[in-house]
């Protein structure tokens, strides 16, 4: 999964520059799509909430767009190797304008659950058990 961080990279660009970059981004995306590398991709809206605390008692409003760390969108890649995923990330046209791309392998099971494998066998929910079996197979 590629996470695109820093959604305000367009600040300070002229309309022409911005149009050029957007054309490059679209061409980049279409190229990957034609090669069958994209499993899913969406931009995220700047609004949103952050939920925390027991039973979600804290609900804080966005926006999330003002920081360089904010996630502005994601792309799920079908890459042949971790290197290919990184190379695809490196070819993203907006990198030179200050965004960063986080490249994260998608897992079949949660690392926290993996740290405690004994628990996987003890999960009581039948649906969950079925899922773990499927993962193991």
């Amino acid at each position: 999964m590629l996470l695109f961080r820093g959604p305000h990279w367009d600040r300070g660009l002229s309309t022409d520059e911005l149009q050029q970059v957007m054309d490059k981004v679209m061409a980049w995306f279409e190229g990957l799509n034609e090669r069958g590398k994209i499993k899913g991709a969406q931009p995220l809206g700047g609004q949103g909430r952050v939920i925390s605390g027991t039973d979600g008692r804290f609900v804080v409003d966005g926006p999330f767009t003002e920081t360089k760390e904010a996630v502005g969108g994601y792309l799920v890649l079908q890459a042949d190797s971790p290197n290919e995923a990184v190379e695809i990330a490196r070819s993203m046209p907006t990198l030179r304008y200050g965004i960063s791309v986080e490249v994260r392998p998608i897992l079949a099971e949660c690392p926290i659950f993996q740290r405690h494998p004994e628990l996987l066998r003890r999960v009581t929910d039948p649906a969950a058990e079925q899922l773990w079996v499927a993962v193991a197979a």
């Binding site: 909430r49 952050v50 939920i51 925390s52 030179r96 960063s100 999960v123």
Partner: protein, 137 residues
């Protein structure tokens, strides 16, 4: 015949070290609650996808396209996984986020609307429209 509009939201789970300090029994409960929660949302058609992310990974940034290593496991802000929701509205997405079994152990859930169109592309189009209007005036 009535039509219902559904909206898509991404839940981003932040903080992937919440298992520290939990007893095996507590952890087992969170694991089975989490799996049951995911299976229920899928069965209800409200969650169409979700994955945990591996702690390792890379960050690509800058004009030089520098590649830096993770890990992402040590931070409370790190994204540990996501759910893709298709629900009636933001309130329903928030209510679902509040049910996250990791919340009482320090997990944070970011609720983000999935956008139809990238915010930068939208701004680029607005600039062009304004310039066109300016040229006509």
């Amino acid at each position: 015949m009535s039509t219902t509009t559904k909206s898509d939201y991404l839940l981003l789970f932040r903080g992937n070290v919440w298992d520290r300090g939990l007893s095996p029994a507590q952890l087992q409960k969170v694991v089975s609650d989490w799996m049951a929660w995911f299976e229920r949302l899928k069965a209800e058609g409200k969650c169409t996808g979700g994955h945990p992310l591996e702690d390792e990974g890379k960050v690509v940034s800058g004009k030089q396209r520098t590649v830096a290593d993770g890990p992402f496991a040590e931070s409370k802000e790190a994204i540990g996984g996501y759910f893709y929701l298709t629900v009636a509205d933001e309130n329903e997405a928030i209510e679902i986020a509040k049910q996250c079994p990791g919340l009482e152990h320090g997990s944070v859930v970011e609720v983000r609307p999935v956008a139809e169109i990238c915010s930068v592309k939208q701004r680029a189009e607005e600039y062009s429209k304004r310039e066109l209007a300016g040229a006509r005036a």
